[in-house]
Subunit: 80 residues, 2 copies
């Protein structure tokens, strides 16, 4: 089984957006772990060691992808 870890820090707009990315992954091939670094700061050092520089980030089999969802102001205002 491949491993996907999604690191975030709880911003609701970003969590919503990036869960769309996780939803799109092939769950037959990827075991998915969701790590909220704000709630679980003990995992920050492991994230750093994996190369995570910012959140949200997606780790696919150890390869870091920093996903920067440009939240629309409409989303921030709760209009979409």
């Amino acid at each position: 089984m491949n491993k996907a870890i999604f690191y975030h820090a709880g911003c609701p707009v970003c969590v919503s957006a990036e869960q769309q990315v996780l939803e799109a992954l092939d769950k037959n091939r990827f075991e998915i772990e969701l790590v909220h670094l704000g709630e679980d700061p003990s995992k920050i050092s492991a994230a750093e060691q994996a190369g995570v520089l910012s959140v949200p980030a997606l780790l696919l089999d150890g390869q870091v992808f920093h996903i920067n969802f440009g939240a629309s102001l409409a989303a921030v205002k709760g209009e979409e």
Copy 2:
């Protein structure tokens, strides 16, 4: 069928990295289109209208995700 469009501009390190993201998507649910904006500049305006601000970017059902893979210098040097 859901639609995933991956926009890039040909940087070999990034293409390699982001193809890992596409590979992880569930192909039973997503029809995947790969657009090289350097080779097909006629598609730039459609990308802009979709909200793409930078490449590489992944469009999942119309939602833009800007994926910034921080290429390691080792990768740039061809060492990994």
